[in-house]
Symmetry: C2
Subunit: 232 residues, 2 copies
Amino acid sequence: MTATKTFAFVLYPGLTPLDFVGPLQVLGALQEFGLGFEAVTVAADLEPLHTDVAVSVTASHTFAQVPEPFGLIVPGGGAPTFAALADERLVGYVRRAASTAELVGSVCTGSLLLGAAGLLEGRKAVTHWAAMPMLRAFGATPLPQRWVADGPVVTAAGVAAGIDMALQLVAELAGEEACRMVQSAIEYDPEPPLGPIDWLSLNREPMESWMRSQAQQGLAAHDEPRIRLLAD
Amino acid sequence: MTATKTFAFVLYPGLTPLDFVGPLQVLGALQEFGLGFEAVTVAADLEPLHTDVAVSVTASHTFAQVPEPFGLIVPGGGAPTFAALADERLVGYVRRAASTAELVGSVCTGSLLLGAAGLLEGRKAVTHWAAMPMLRAFGATPLPQRWVADGPVVTAAGVAAGIDMALQLVAELAGEEACRMVQSAIEYDPEPPLGPIDWLSLNREPMESWMRSQAQQGLAAHDEPRIRLLAD
């Protein structure tokens, strides 16, 4: 009889829901393989939290109820995610839970929250492409990949990249056959109507400038982290 | 001054959240282009609804508050979606809203809810691959594509296919440049770790049998639709 291995997805107000719903749907399916995995969501309390789109989300557990998850996944977002960098209740939970977790993951600007918890120092990491320079503020080396694993810390690129990262985790934890089953269950067989992102012709400036403005807004009351993040 | 064109995502208990969160994130971004679009979520009431994973979701509006949306998107799921086929409050909303909407969409088994509302009669449509034969119960012709547009009705394949369908809608409603911007904002540049689904070697039986068991469960108390769905 092995203990349940819990993946805890960390929720907070204002986040981008696709950042966690994609990987939650993927890692939630791990439950089906009888290997003792489960996936829950955790937050400071069990009240509905607004998001960056018109839906609210409510966690299944409080931080206090899941102090030592097997794995931790932190989603990102815009200004509210930058504001969360200065939320010691949230960052403290991430830091404490990470100290005993076997796996610490993030999606999009969620990696900045890992950084704020001191978990990216000296590590290679990725985040949303428009926030990449901000990783240096936490001692991380930005690596432009779909996901980056460095020891127990796995970071994914922007938003939708969390699905790819989560499938990779399923392949590692439950095998390739399980990964293929989950992928076919969620029919993840992408056909972006205009093809993949054309990075060479992408005009990056508007989104990069938007990302900096989100940091300005989110950290308006917090000089030190704002100045550090926007130094580059 | 044009009226706001509202996309209403229809929520109900037990749904698969990725079915609507992907397209909501994509169509929610339409708001940024100043074309008068907005995206909301609607449900029978504003209480948190459980889902098929460990998170609850709360709609931004009630059905009564959004009687005549511009566009309607119906997500799917397992047994609870089949149960919803017999929920006249939900199906009635879909039917009435569709009668004035310019666009009616679904993701995954959400297309069966469009069918229950009488919207697929004589149309080509798609749903989750493991539920495809069930479309015939509603007079639809199953077409195995990522998404299928037939008049004002657009159906997407399983779960993750909703993201592709929503990007296609953005391209049609706001142009390819807008579509590319949204795609890069959510960094939808998929890299499934084991590649695309290998349909030729996929063992379909377990998932097809699971889907039939979900129909049995969800419609246990409703002979007529269950027998119709499982006839094929």
